[in-house]
């Protein structure tokens, strides 16, 4: 009878050891004697045992430490020894301005202004789809953090807000210019990487800016 079979949820509880002793004994007896349930029980245990036997460590990607080192060196540069709103704001600026990536990108930027970074109308036709999708992901992150920053704005001094906005404008200007270069040379992998790094820098800047009221 179907009702006598051990259902899958109970079988999982049996596997996880969360069945009461009496139900456990009944379930075990059933899976020992019912061919249909025995097959499922064996397959379930096999998956579980295989999962537990996966290696606990995998080789990390190349270059990861170098990226981490760069990030912690930037954070080391910006850690304020004397907490003050102005110092914190200055730290935010440093994040943006000490980056070699941004510096590289800014070499081709005439005069960065606060500009919204929006994909060009024909970008989807020119740029790699993976880049467009990644950019949309970054844009969503930026929008979310921007909203958090806006909600934190009343707690910040006007100088802090001004410095943050200037830094964002600098980064946006760099992105716009690099993006323009990428449109002219869509296959330039280095530019794609640099733009991604600059977006991540913008995200980090916004994250820190949004958290300023909590850290001061």
């Amino acid at each position: 009878m179907m009702s006598d079979h051990v259902d899958f949820a109970v079988m999982n509880d049996l596997l996880d050891g969360s069945l009461e002793p009496e139900r456990r004994a009944v379930a075990l007896h059933h899976v020992d004697t019912c061919e249909a349930c025995a097959g499922t029980w064996t397959a379930l245990r096999d998956v579980h045992e295989l999962s537990r036997s996966l290696p606990t460590a995998l080789r990390e990607p190349e270059g990861l430490w170098e990226d981490i080192r760069d990030s912690i060196e930037r954070s080391r540069t910006v850690t304020p020894r004397v907490p003050s709103r102005l110092l914190a704001a200055a730290a935010v600026v440093l994040i943006a301005l000490t980056s070699g990536v941004t510096a590289w990108l800014m070499r081709t930027t005439d005069s960065p202004r606060s500009v919204a970074v929006r994909p060009a109308a024909n970008a989807a036709e020119v740029l790699p789809a993976a880049f467009i999708a990644a950019e949309q992901g970054y844009a969503a992150d930026v929008a979310e953090l921007r909203a958090l920053f806006e909600s934190a704005r009343p707690s910040l001094t006007p100088e802090t807000v001004r410095v943050v906005e200037q830094s964002l404008a600098t980064i946006d200007g760099a992105i716009v210019e690099a993006r323009r270069a990428l449109l002219a040379d869509p296959g330039n992998v280095e530019l794609v990487g640099l733009i991604g790094a600059t977006y991540r820098q913008k995200i980090e800047l916004l994250r820190r800016a949004a958290e300023l009221p909590h850290s001061l």
């Binding site: 999962s51 537990r52 996966l54 606990t56 460590a57 995998l58 990861l64 430490w65 954070s75 992150d141």
Partner: protein, 190 residues
């Protein structure tokens, strides 16, 4: 029951306390040694929980940057590996909010990221093909089921701990876990 990571990471590496002390005082070389001793575990966790190699790289990066920022507050009550592991779980789960929008940029079904090289001494099935099949099947699970499955069956968290970490009811955790196991059974039997 110790977490799989804790079991693998214990006993604490010789000299860990000294390396931590040096790193806390700003010694980057010491921090790098701590990184090298633990990164394989952290990357494996991030990769399995996201099913996305690029995202796992970014999250692993974030784990160590955050660890560096917070290292001065680490008092050594637990092994460094366990402390990092908790940071990683929190970062990956916090990242879940943005996962949907990112799913468009890197397909979860992408094979990249599942045929990873394991680190020597990190255990693993004797049959590499079976392991890769399972890793691939895990990467294909729905995101929440995948996270629950990895935390429970691979890492060793209990239902209640996962429920707390993911802000889910324990019953919901069980449903995701059972769903994940059923899907894995079906995929591996093909």
């Amino acid at each position: 029951m110790p977490l799989a990571f804790e079991a693998a990471a214990s006993p604490r590496p010789a000299g860990e306390a000294e390396l931590i002390r040096r790193a806390q005082s700003g010694d980057e070389a010491a921090f790098r040694q701590l990184y090298e001793a633990t990164v394989g575990h952290i990357f494996a966790l991030c990769l399995r929980m996201t099913g996305d190699r690029l995202r796992a790289r970014e999250l692993t990066h974030d784990v160590y940057v955050r660890a560096w920022e917070r290292l001065s507050g680490f008092r050594g009550d637990a092994a460094l590996g366990s402390w990092l592991h908790r940071i990683a779980v929190n970062i990956v789960l916090a990242d879940e909010r943005g996962a949907k929008r990112r799913r468009a940029r890197i397909g979860l079904a992408d094979d990249e990221g599942v045929e990873e090289e394991s680190v020597a001494g990190a255990g693993g099935s004797d049959d590499p093909d079976t392991r890769v099949d399972l890793e691939r099947a895990i990467a294909l699970l729905p995101p929440r089921a995948r996270r629950v499955f990895v935390l429970h069956d691979v890492v060793g968290y209990q239902h209640a701990e996962i429920a707390e970490l993911m802000s889910l009811a324990e019953a919901t955790v069980r449903v995701h876990l059972h769903h994940a196991r059923r899907m894995l059974m079906e995929r591996l039997s093909r």
